[in-house]
């Protein structure tokens, strides 16, 4: 299944760095996010977009992960040539990530 089935997401921007939250709809799926939505997978998913490192932060109390992606916004929001200079649409691309279904969802 797609990540979209168990999580929602929002993108934010600062300079040339983008951050994407991945938030479990149901906190029972948070371990699934922890196990499968790794920084390495996110970096690979955004091939051609993220040029820098991806760092993952874990927020267990709200069942969310926060990915901080360096060198992602075309040199910075204020000078980027990109149509979506802020990278606001990136969250939707991340929700397309393939996730192995948990036992209670199959």
């Amino acid at each position: 299944m797609k990540l979209r089935e168990i999580a929602h997401s929002r993108t934010g921007d600062k300079g040339n760095t983008s951050n994407i939250s991945v938030i479990a709809y149901d906190s029972r799926h948070y371990p699934l996010l922890l196990a499968q939505v790794t920084a390495a997978r996110v970096k690979a998913h955004f091939a051609g977009v993220v040029e820098g490192d991806v760092v993952r932060y874990e927020l267990e109390r709200i069942g969310a992960l926060n990915f901080v992606m360096g060198r992602t916004l075309g040199g910075g929001v204020t000078r980027s040539l990109a149509l979506d200079a802020h990278g606001k649409s990136l969250s939707s691309a991340l929700l397309d990530l393939e996730i192995e279904a948990p036992p209670d969802k199959t």
Partner: protein
């Protein structure tokens, strides 16, 4: 326990105005905050001020103030805003003029100045954080340097009786923290309370983004009434407790989900959310729905502030030229790709001097590039988009021209060509020792 109600009346400079009026009319609020200053807006405003010393503040200041001042004056609602942009004093004078015209001569309006630290940045020749180089390296391309001020001068203005506080560059959460410091007498070294207040400010600062805006995803996350979206109200207690809500009957929704998305919006390390007044800690925040459109937020914290202030430096970066044209029907994608190939070759043949070029097909790969979009199915229509960075306006114009000439020289059926060329004012950051910024409060009486 004492509680104040703070309404968030704008999440960016061009935001809707009626939701702020709704908050003033029906929100039973004590404070109305307008966050209207984007990253590069101060640099653009500084250019406007150089043209005319009476300008350089938010272009919508007059419209917003006319819309809310009578209601706020009648109900004793204090206004805090960064609509001063590059010229808070001129904004305060303009607001006083509007107040007088509306018969509200008793209003006290305060400007917070001192965020303009361009000279201090030049003298220190501070290094740029985003790329190799320093302030001096920007030479005469440098336009502005504005420090993100904290809440203290705004809180002082409120404590001195201001009805309206107008700042230039200040941290966005600080606009909300100032009323809390003023109302509850929080001290400027109570890191825990300042951290909790920062969580509240951060959640409220983008207005509609916590009441269902920037959230809806039909059949996954449905939100009713986005055309009449209500803006948020924060009920903040003197112990830093927070309930987020909105005006009953307004559009949108305040839910645990909308609050969680906004909590992490533009946040990097949640343990260290750097602010001028505190290093806020979002990592232990808990979010709980206690009633429809009422969400309780607990667990925020903070640690001691750093010795520096972040400064936004505006500079003339480059010029960007752009052209677009559309293709549709069977074969649209192939014709779009052919069009891009033609423009790519033309830019080389004619020697357009661009340091960076980008070739997109809108509807195919313009947002996330060819690799992420590789598996998408073929669309009915595509829009060709070519952009490039140049050193002069003249060169930038040539890029759009090469797209436009596809009309008569390119693939079949190209329509809706459009072009533009513009100068780019970009923003970079430096860190300034905090004692070098000297904020001051200046009052303007509406009656004079």
């Amino acid at each position: 326990m004492r509680t104040i109600r703070i309404g968030s009346g704008a999440g960016y400079s061009g935001d809707r105005i009626e939701p702020a009026v709704e908050l003033a009319e029906q929100g039973d609020i004590d404070y109305l905050v307008f966050e209207c200053l984007g990253e590069r807006t101060v640099a653009l405003a500084q250019q406007a001020r150089m043209e005319n010393p009476d300008l350089g503040y938010d272009p919508l200041l007059e419209e917003r103030m006319r819309a809310v001042l009578p209601l706020c004056a009648a109900k004793g609602i204090k206004i805090v805003t960064n609509m001063g942009a590059a010229n808070p004093e001129a904004a305060a004078k303009k607001t006083a003029e509007i107040a007088r015209a509306l018969g509200l001569s008793s209003l006290k309006i305060a400007a917070v100045i001192g965020d303009d630290v361009l000279e201090a940045c030049k003298q220190g020749d501070l290094p740029i954080l985003e790329f190799e180089g320093s302030i001096k390296g920007l030479g005469n391309r440098l336009i502005s340097g504005n420090a993100y001020l904290g809440a203290e001068p705004m809180a002082q203005a409120l404590s001195a009786g201001a009805d309206v506080v107008i700042t230039g560059r200040a941290s966005d959460p600080a606009l909300f923290l100032a009323p809390m410091i003023h109302a509850f007498g929080w001290t400027m070294d109570d890191w825990n309370l300042l951290g909790k207040g920062t969580v509240a400010g951060h959640l409220l600062e983008c207005a509609g983004q916590i009441t269902g805006g920037y959230f809806a995803d039909p059949s996954y996350k449905d939100v009713a009434g986005l055309a009449r979206l209500g803006f948020p109200i924060g009920e903040v207690g003197e112990d830093g407790s927070l309930v987020v809500t909105k005006v009953a009957g307004s559009g949108g929704a305040v839910t645990a989900r909308t609050c969680k998305e906004q909590l992490l919006y533009e946040v990097h390390d949640p343990v260290r959310y750097l602010q001028p007044d505190v290093v806020a800690d979002f990592s232990q925040v808990q979010i709980e729905e206690i009633a429809p459109d009422r969400v309780r937020v607990t667990g925020g914290g903070g640690t001691e502030r750093t010795d520096t202030l972040k400064v936004s430096v505006g500079y003339l970066d480059s010029f960007i030229g752009e052209g677009q044209i559309s293709y549709a029907g069977p074969g649209a994608l192939a014709r779009g790709r052919l069009a891009l190939d033609i423009v790519r070759e033309r830019l080389k043949l004619t020697g357009v001097a661009a340091s960076e070029l980008r070739f997109d097909l809108i509807g195919v790969d313009s947002l996330h590039g060819p690799q992420v979009s590789a598996h998408a199915c073929e669309p009915y229509e595509v829009r060709v988009r070519v952009t490039g960075r140049t050193e002069s306006l003249r060169e930038a114009i040539r890029i759009g021209n090469e797209v436009e000439t596809l009309y008569t020289n390119g693939p079949a059926g190209g329509g809706g060509a459009w072009k533009s060329a513009r100068e780019v004012v970009a923003v970079a950051s430096v860190l300034l020792p905090r004692e070098l910024a000297k904020p001051q409060v200046r009052f303007v009486e509406a009656g004079r």
